[in-house]
Amino acid sequence: MSGAPTLMHRRLKPSPFLPDLAEIVRKDHLTSTETLYQLRLADGSELGHTPGQFVELSVFGVGEAPLSISSSPTRGEAFEVCIRRVGDVTGSLERLGLGAQIGVRGPFGRGFPLDEMRGQDVLIIAGGLGIVPLRSLIVNLLDERGDFGDITVLYGTKDPSFLLFKDEITRWEARDDVDLRITVDLAEPSWKGSVGPVTTLFRRLTIDPKRTVPVMVGPPVMFKHVVKQVLACGIPEDRIILSLERRMKCGIGECGHCQINGVYVCQDGPVFTYAELKRLEEAML
């Protein structure tokens, strides 16, 4: 590394903080707090992401927020993000109508290792909003169904009203090439499905530890229990895939907000193997 001398040969590069413009082309209210936005880049280009990556989405005058991409790259140029209204940016998006222009930077980060999943059984475990990035993966897997072995999706939420992507879930349930199981923490007596944490769905599940790639996204408390469960099945640590939520401010490994121990979630992740994370105290696993 050297300082000033090498600079003379460098081209002045544009800002990594200047977003591309995108237009809101569709808005679907999935629940009382979550909305699915379909966005199209102003220049008509594809986002070019892999499932598991995220974008920095901005409303000028309000700010920028990291959001995981919810659509599959197999589905054309528009892309989707699913947003729960929690902060300024997500709240302001809710007020914007179709055609409104927002800023998009990215895609950023390391997505799910699709190539390593090819030919393998994929066991997807989603807790709450964890279904948002996992929907990107699930749709991708189903669009390239022949490349993968058994596909199992375990999805747990607080109560049935929190279930996202209900229409798609109905369609997935109807397919015989994917095993979809849903559980809720609390339910009215009218709920016919399973009640309990997502780990209850492991009962009567046949897992071949030699060819199963478990992929999980959810709250920290879910990771603790599910990791224990899949380890008990005999799946090696470096094949357990999980994705973390942190405060990715810049998306390019500069700002420091998403750092856990020596790792930058925005660059090194958000998708990790359990082997990579288990020694990191701040991963909270």
Partner: protein
Amino acid sequence: MSEAMIEALQTLKRPRVAVFELASCAGCQLQILNCEDELVDLLQLIELAYFKEAMTETSDVYDLALIEGAVTREADEDKLRTIRERAKLVGTLGACAFPVGIPGLKNGHDLEEVARQVYGEHASYFPSVEAKPVDSVIKVDLHIPGCPIHKDEFLRVVTGVLLGRKPPIPGYPVCVECRLKENICAFDRGLICLGPVTRGGCGAICPSYGSRCFGCRGLADDPNLASVENLLEDHGRTREDILAEYALYNGYYALHDGGLKAKVAP
């Protein structure tokens, strides 16, 4: 499209704003009037419905109520409840409204004696109770801290509120901005300072002008009170000195809820 977008982003569109005063010096209201260069633009964004310091017309119809001052009379409480019913959003201005500040100096003393000292033989004409913060009576949606408030912060909060943003009031202590300004630390000038536990956002204005922090913006979100107490003791202050130090602005909370603790502003 652009105008429609700005319009869509706003949670409040040209809201009617009312400014009220309880026990205070009116200094925060004057800070609003000090926005001389910005007033014309500001009045494009909001409509003034009631502002006794600035206008003679009055109205009971408003969206955003801003209240300066502490609650010191029973009648104030009814007034506040009426304001709360009428306004969509209620904000408070300055240290008197939270964490009570100067009006709270009488708390903990014999209030009748205090009244006699201030009003003499006519004390009974001025019924007064212990000073308390506005948010102990009604729900407050946002608070602009300071003694007085700063006009830049006021404008930032107003534009932020219109766009539905959380008021951009920092949770960190005064020291953060003081170091960024490259000030000589008050402790290095032989003073003590409440900067390490006081909410920042003021640009460390008092230390920047050779003074030190008195805590007017209330406690920061995460103050290490125990460590600061040790620090002040290391600088020769007794526990009584330290309490007196907090009493100037944070006295209400030093006396209530089992002593001074992190009381996060509304």
